[in-house]
């Protein structure tokens, strides 16, 4: 495996933090899934979150846009701070979600709407764009993810990889500051997953700030600037991708990486 892109220098050191997570905790009943998570991201940075199943990766991602309300701590995205110990106002929640675009493992396109409508409707309702404006943007994004010819189709007529690319276009159409990817290729055949990863890589190169929960170690190593390796609700290791993945310090991280890298 050759690292095509060297991590690190792509994002200027001086870039401001766009995302900060402080003392984030999340419990489901007595079960503590996230235990005091702290990290920050600069604008344009791509962070891969890896780790064994059940380590809290997806929960962390879902807390960032409050699909799961955090049990403790605070999250700042692009100047907007959400504190777990404050009652969240509807406007704050909407503001947060406007700043964060999300792509799900199971795509979650709206099956009763055409591909074009999937991308244009949220723009009209959330950003107040006109229909013409929203559709123009939708066409441009479909072009960008290589699916210009699918605009009038329904999602069920598209392959999994195509659906995921449409889901990425849908999220991008709202001009998010940060894109959150929750195992975007896990439901896809490895070969089909590549077309999704290619779109993500292009997005990263375009300067989008991205948090990617993934099992794609090659993607984590080559595209992301930094890796967070999680286990048991903690961030076990954090640092430049190549460093964390080639020279993990802790025994637990070594064990995990050995298992996944040899696959």
């Amino acid at each position: 495996m050759i690292a095509e892109i060297q991590a690190g220098p792509r994002v200027p050191e001086a870039a401001p933090n766009i995302l900060e997570v402080r003392n984030l905790r999340k419990s489901f009943g007595v079960h503590e899934v996230l235990k005091n998570i702290n990290f920050a991201m600069r604008k344009g940075e791509v962070v891969a979150v890896i780790g064994p199943s059940g380590s809290g990766k997806s929960t962390l991602l879902r807390c960032l846009n409050q699909l799961e309300p955090a049990s403790g701590g605070e999250i700042t995205i692009d100047g907007l701070t959400i504190r777990a110990d404050h009652q969240l106002r509807r406007a704050e929640l909407m503001g947060l979600r406007r700043k964060a675009g999300m792509v799900f493992q199971s795509f979650n396109l709206f099956p009763h709407l055409s591909v074009l409508r999937n991308i244009s409707l949220p723009q009209e309702r959330v950003l107040g764009r006109s229909r013409a404006e929203a559709e123009k943007r939708a066409h441009a994004l479909l072009e960008r993810v290589g699916l210009a010819d699918k605009a009038s189709q329904y999602p069920a007529r598209c392959s999994g990889g195509q659906q995921q690319r449409i889901a990425i276009a849908r999220a991008l159409a709202l001009d998010p500051q940060v894109m959150l990817f929750d195992e975007p290729t896990s439901a896809l055949d490895p070969e089909v997953g590549l077309e999704v990863l290619a779109v993500m890589k292009e997005l990263a190169e375009g300067g989008m700030t991205m948090v990617v929960v993934t099992h794609e170690m090659h993607f984590a190593e080559t595209v992301s600037d930094r890796v967070l390796l999680m286990a048991d609700g903690h961030i076990l290791e954090e640092g430049p991708s190549a460093e964390v993945m080639r020279n993990p310090k802790s025994e637990r991280a070594q064990r995990f990486l050995k298992a996944v890298m040899n696959r």
Binding site: N65, M94, M102, S106, L113, R125, V126, R170
Partner: protein, 218 residues
């Protein structure tokens, strides 16, 4: 046989008038009852406990009481509290209530069948609660509920014959009136039954077609 056909021919216009009224009552009850059922299905999940209990009461009474009792209540009962309805209005009121109660359960099941991921996706996109209902949840929930709703509509046409008991000149009433004047109950009731079947059988086939179509897109 030719005797029966000429008898049918003579009374067909009167019977068709009756069918027209049956269809009107059914149509009006569905047009009022199904949107009300949707509203009830949404409101039983409301945060306000009062609203929840109120809707639950409306649904449970509407489902618990036989349609015949609701009809009698609307036509004979309400005048005691100063509300006099024509037989048509009373029939529509009673059958709308019944429709609302039953369809609210059908629609609620439809809404619950919408995958959790759809709600999460619309949350993540930042759609407001009202938009989520309007553009994501309700269209998909109704799609799931459509075959059952259509099936219910067929039942409602049949239930409209109960309005016979409150002097509404619908299909069964007309057949009965013709029977009392000609004493030929058998052929006229057969004709009435045939007309009900003419509507209900194609409608049932439509339900089947709908279900197959839905299964293909799921």
């Amino acid at each position: 046989m030719s005797d029966i056909l000429s008898f049918w021919g003579t009374y067909l216009p009167q019977i068709l008038d009756g069918l027209g009224i049956s269809l009107k009552v059914t149509g009006a009850s569905l047009a009022i009852g199904i949107p009300a059922g949707l509203a009830l299905a949404l409101m039983v999940q409301a945060k306000s406990r009062f609203l929840r209990w109120f809707c639950l009461a409306v649904v449970e009474i509407g489902r618990g009481a036989p349609a015949l009792i609701l009809l009698q209540f609307a036509y004979f009962g309400l005048p005691n509290v100063g509300v006099s309805l024509t037989s048509f209005a009373a029939a529509v009121a009673a059958l709308s209530w019944s429709t609302a109660a039953y369809t609210s359960e059908i629609i609620r099941a439809g809404l619950q069948a919408v995958p959790r991921g759809q709600i999460e996706a619309s949350d993540a996109l930042g759609l407001s609660f009202a938009d989520q209902l309007r553009f994501v949840l309700v269209p998909q929930g109704l799609r799931v509920a459509a075959p059952a709703l259509l099936g219910f509509a067929v039942l409602m046409l049949q239930a409209s014959s109960l309005a016979f008991t409150i002097a509404l000149p619908e299909l069964l009433s007309q057949a009965y009136i013709i029977g009392t004047t000609t004493f030929r109950y058998m052929p006229i009731l057969c004709l009435a039954g045939l007309l009900y079947a003419c509507i209900c059988i194609p409608a049932t086939l439509l339900v089947g077609w709908f279900e197959r179509r839905l299964a293909r897109h799921a």
